[in-house]
């Protein structure tokens, strides 16, 4: 009899966690609406995992073998970087002059300043409990008229920078998905060259933002320190909100487009207050109209 009791105890020890894991997976699948993609995902996960393993091994061997050659290349890279630094310093010196000149030109041309309507000012009251996801909890929610997918900005050092968007809104609080989150995407353009791309985060506030889908041809015109702003071509973010400055330009051999690394405009470790912008789909429409007119003119 005691043996029977023991075996029932062991099966419960194994059974309950397995049931709980299955429930968890089911909940994730339902909440992410990915249940239909599950069989395909399992297959691609297995294939992808194998590819990743092989690629990692290959990459390790390649890196080891070519590390000596890389050392020799470092010298020439250093010289090139020193040259770039010089041009960057010049750009920095001219930046303030260019800003004021830009303001004057805007007035002369009669362009209205992009006035972004602030729906609510809020304070950050909490952050994500773990280190995997990155989100902020603000003290305003549905009761203040906030909704999912509203743009969130912050002011720092005189710059109105894009901070993120509202992921979920509750009665008196909202969850904000910051720009540096891996799940954050925003249509952006380079302020100087007007080239468009897509910016997303890497999951850590200290890491650079990544701008993709800029053709290598356009990338040749980009300089370190160039400002990247929102393009306004999506229905969430108004145009010309600062996102970051170009920190590094990568031109991978395998791709026709460049990868631009950006230094975020905002220092997220110092953020205390966030401002939620009025949802205005008209902004996107007007931005689209302007680009259509430009296209026609061409």
């Amino acid at each position: 009899m005691p043996q029977k009791k023991r075996s029932r105890g062991i099966s419960a020890t194994h059974g309950i966690p397995i049931i709980l894991l299955a429930i968890s997976l089911l909940l994730i699948s339902i909440s992410t609406k990915s249940i239909l993609r599950l069989p395909g995902n399992i297959a691609s996960a297995l294939a992808g995992g194998t590819q990743y393993l092989f690629s990692s091994v290959g990459g390790f061997v390649k890196r080891t073998v070519f590390s000596i050659r890389e050392l020799a290349d470092l010298r020439s890279q250093y010289d090139a970087l020193a040259e770039k630094l010089k041009s960057y310093e010049t750009l920095e010196r001219n930046y303030a002059d260019m800003m004021s000149e830009n303001e004057r030109l805007k007035e002369q041309l009669g362009f209205a300043q992009n006035i972004t309507a602030i729906k609510a000012s809020s304070r950050i009251i909490a952050k994500d409990p773990g280190n995997i996801f990155s989100s902020y909890v603000i003290d305003k929610g549905l009761s203040s008229g906030l909704e999912k997918n509203m743009a969130v900005v912050a002011f720092q050092n005189g710059i109105e920078g894009l901070a993120g968007k509202i992921l979920d809104s509750k009665h008196s609080s909202s969850i904000v998905l910051p720009v540096f989150d891996q799940r954050f995407f925003v249509s952006a353009r380079l302020s100087r060259t007007r080239a468009e791309g897509l910016v997303n985060g890497q999951g850590n506030p200290d890491d650079a933002l990544v701008m993709r889908y800029i053709s290598k041809l356009n990338a040749a015109e980009i300089q370190i320190g160039d400002m990247v702003v929102t393009s306004g071509l999506d229905s969430i973010y108004p145009a010309d909100l600062a996102i970051g400055r170009v920190k590094e330009i990568q031109l991978p051999e395998y791709s026709s487009s460049a990868i631009i690394l950006l230094e975020p405009s905002l220092n997220f470790s110092k953020l205390e207050y966030l401002f939620v912008l009025q949802k205005d789909t008209d902004l996107a429409t007007s931005a689209q109209t302007v680009s259509d007119v430009k296209a026609k003119e061409r």
Binding site: L25, I30, S34, R37, I42, I125, S135, D168, Q182, D206
Partner: protein, 169 residues
């Protein structure tokens, strides 16, 4: 059993709220130690049945509501280390320092592997995961390992609240 599950879920939830507020800027290098995980690990190790896994599941649901993660994500992440801890009790017996450190460190690693598994399974659209090459992950594992002896000692003093039946029974 219900009392144990309720008490441990409640304590884990309190720790989760502390992690989101008082510790929101992290303790070291911006990294937040996972005290809720440590509570779950201790409960899983100290109880004979699946109390740790159940409270891990419930605390995970609480964590999902506090986080931007999809519902069920942290439940999955907490059940796996809890299950492993409940198996570990059959192999090693608890001491004051080394086992808690190993449990805290290895529990975080398991949580990390579980997050990578979910990322591979469901894709990056809604799921984030620890990066094994990211220093923050290893700092969290070390912090959890470092805090485990202290927290386990404190939990040991409240054994009546968190343990239904002793392992040795």
């Amino acid at each position: 059993m219900i009392k144990t599950i309720f008490a441990s879920t409640f304590l884990s939830s309190i720790f989760l709220i502390i992690q989101t507020t008082w510790l929101k800027n992290g303790l070291f290098w911006g990294v937040i130690p996972d005290f809720a995980l440590l509570v779950i690990l201790w409960v899983a190790y100290s109880n004979k049945e699946s109390q740790g896994a159940i409270s891990g599941f419930l605390a995970g649901l609480v964590c999902d509501t506090l986080s931007s993660s999809p519902l069920g994500y942290f439940s999955f992440l907490y059940v796996i280390p809890a299950y492993a801890a409940s198996l570990l009790k059959h192999v090693v017996s608890m001491d004051a320092f080394f086992i808690p450190v190993i449990l805290g460190f290895a529990g975080t690693l398991l949580k990390g592997f579980a997050s990578i598994f979910l990322l591979l399974l469901l894709g990056p659209k809604d799921i984030s995961a620890y990066a094994l090459g990211d220093m923050h992950f290893w700092v969290e594992a070390v912090l959890n390992g470092a805090f485990a002896p202290l927290l386990f000692f404190a939990l040991g003093k409240m054994r009546a609240l968190f343990v239904t039946r002793k392992v040795t029974e």
